[in-house]
C-alpha cells in the first residue's frame, strides 16, 4: 500500500503544485490590483457585500433582536435606579425645554424679520443598520439603503443627535458607513465657542482624537464640537460631540451619537460632496515631494 501511495503522489503532487501556484498568483494578483486601483476593487467589494449580507439578513435580524432583548432584560435589574436617574434628568430637561421654546419663538420671529429661508437641500434618507464591520480593527456599519435609494459616496450619516460617519462604498441595496471611530476617518471640525478649527481623527477607540489644533489654550473640556464644512466634505454645523481630555492630557471628543447601539441612521443628502473616481493624487505643490500616501491624500 505504501508503494501504491507513493505512485499516486507522483501524479498528484505536480498537479497540486500547479493548482497551488495558480491560486496563490490569482490571490496576490487581486491584492496588487487592489493596491493599484483601489476604488474599482472597493466597488467590487461593495457588490460582494451587497450580494452576501442581505441574504443573511433573515437570520441576522432575529439573532440581533434576541441578544438585545436579553440585554434589555438585564437592564431591568437596575430599573429603580434608572428610574430615579431619569426623573432627575427629566426635571433638568423641563428647564431646558422652557428655554428652548422661548429661543425657538425668538428665532422664528427673527427669521421672519430677516426673511431667511433654510437650506432646502439638507434632506435625509433613513436607513437601518444591518451589519457591522466584523473586524476588530475596522469601525464601520452596513446600512440597508444603497444606490437604488440615491445614496452617494461621501454623504454624512447621523443618528438623531450627532454625526456618526460618512458613506464609503455603495452597493445597489447597501451602503457602508465608515464610523468616526475608525482609524481612517478624519473630519474637519470647529470647536465652539472659541471657533478654533481642528481635525477629528478616529483611532479605534470610543473617543476620537482632536488634531491640528491651532491654539490649545482656547479649548476647554466640555466645549461643543461641530463640523466646520471645510473642504466641502460635510455640511457645516452638524453636532459631533464634546471635548474631553484623556489622562495623558490629549484632547479627545466624546461623541454625541450613541455609538453603543446604532440602529437607525440618517444619511444627509448633500450635493456638493465630490465624487471619488480614481485613487487620489498627492495634494499640494508637486515639489518638494509630499510624504503623504495616496490614501491619506484622498482622505484629505
Amino acid at each position: 500500500m505504501a508503494k501504491d501511495r507513493s505512485q499516486r503522489d507522483e501524479y498528484t503532487t505536480p498537479l497540486r503544485r500547479l493548482l497551488l501556484g495558480i491560486v496563490v498568483l490569482c490571490l496576490l494578483g487581486i491584492f496588487l490590483v487592489w493596491r493599484i486601483d483601489s476604488p474599482r476593487v472597493e466597488r467590487f467589494r461593495a457588490q460582494v457585500v451587497d450580494a452576501v449580507v442581505p441574504s443573511l439578513e433573515w437570520a441576522m435580524v432575529p439573532v440581533t433582536a434576541t441578544v438585545n432583548l436579553v440585554r434589555d432584560f438585564q437592564s431591568y435589574q437596575r430599573l429603580s435606579e434608572q428610574n430615579r436617574e431619569l426623573r432627575s434628568e427629566l426635571r433638568r430637561m423641563r428647564a431646558w425645554k422652557e428655554a428652548a421654546l422661548q429661543l425657538e419663538q425668538e428665532n422664528a420671529r427673527l427669521l421672519d424679520l430677516n426673511n431667511v429661508r433654510l437650506d432646502p437641500r439638507l434632506t435625509y434618507i433613513t436607513g437601518v443598520v444591518m451589519a457591522d464591520s466584523g473586524s476588530p480593527f475596522r469601525q464601520s456599519v452596513l446600512l440597508n439603503v444603497g444606490r437604488r435609494d440615491g445614496i452617494v459616496d461621501g454623504w454624512a450619516a447621523m443618528d438623531g443627535i450627532g454625526l456618526v460617519g460618512r458613506i464609503s462604498g455603495v452597493g445597489a441595496d447597501t451602503a457602508r458607513v465608515i464610523l468616526m471611530t475608525d482609524a481612517s476617518s478624519a473630519i474637519p471640525a470647529s470647536i465652539q465657542p472659541s471657533g478654533q478649527t481642528a481635525l477629528i481623527k478616529g483611532d479605534n477607540t470610543a473617543v476620537p482624537l482632536v488634531e491640528f489644533l491651532e491654539n490649545r489654550e482656547l479649548v476647554r473640556p466640555g466645549d461643543r464640537v461641530i463640523t466646520s464644512g471645510d473642504g466641502g466634505v460635510f455640511p457645516a454645523g452638524l453636532l459631533i460631540g464634546q471635548i474631553t481630555a484623556d489622562p495623558g492630557g490629549r484632547l479627545r471628543v466624546r461623541l454625541s451619537a450613541d455609538f453603543e447601539r446604532l440602529e437607525f441612521l440618517r444619511v444627509l443628502r448633500y450635493q456638493s460632496a465630490p465624487a471619488i473616481r480614481d485613487s487620489g493624487d498627492i495634494v499640494g505643490p508637486l515639489r518638494p515631494e509630499a510624504s503623504l500616501t495616496p490614501d491619506e491624500a484622498a482622505d484629505g
Partner: protein, 178 residues
Amino acid sequence: MDKAVSHLWAMRCLYVFLVVLVLFLHLLPLNTQPDRWPFPDVLIALTFAWVLRRPEYTPIAIVAVVMLIADLLLQRPPGLLAALVVVATNYLRSAAPGMRDIGFFGEWSSVAAVMTGIFVLNRFILSVLSVQQAAFWPTVVQLILTIAIYPLIVLISQNGMGVRRISAADAGIVGARA
C-alpha cells in the same frame, strides 16, 4: 465507496457551513463601539486544525475561496491574507504526516510558528506597499488569542465533529477510494 465520497462532501460542506457561521457572528451588529479586546481569528485556527487532521476535507480551492470571501466581507486588503493562508495550509498539509508522532504540543508549537509567520509576512508586505495598517499591539494580542484558542478548536473538531487523524483502519478505506 459511494458512502465514503458522500461523507467526504458532507464534511466539506460542514467546513463551509462553519466558516459562514463564524462570518455571520462577526457581522452581527451587536456592538458598534470599538472593542476593547480584539477577538481571535477563528477562521485560520479552524482551517489549520482541519488541514492537519483531514487534509482532504479542506482542499486548496475551498480554502482560497473561503479566505477571499472573508477578506472581502471583513474589510481586509483583499487577497493578501488569503494567499498567505493558502501557502501555510499547503505547508501544513505536507508536514501533517510527520506531526502524528510529535504529540499535540509539538503540533501546537508548529501551528503557532506558522501563524506568527503569516502575521509577520502580512505586516511586512503591507508596510512595504505602504497600506494603512491597524495598530501594532492589538494585532499582536489577536495573534496570541488565535494561538491560544487553537487547542479549543481542535477539541471541538475532534470530539464534536469527528475530524480525527486517519487511523490504520480508516486508511484502508481512503486508499481504496483513491
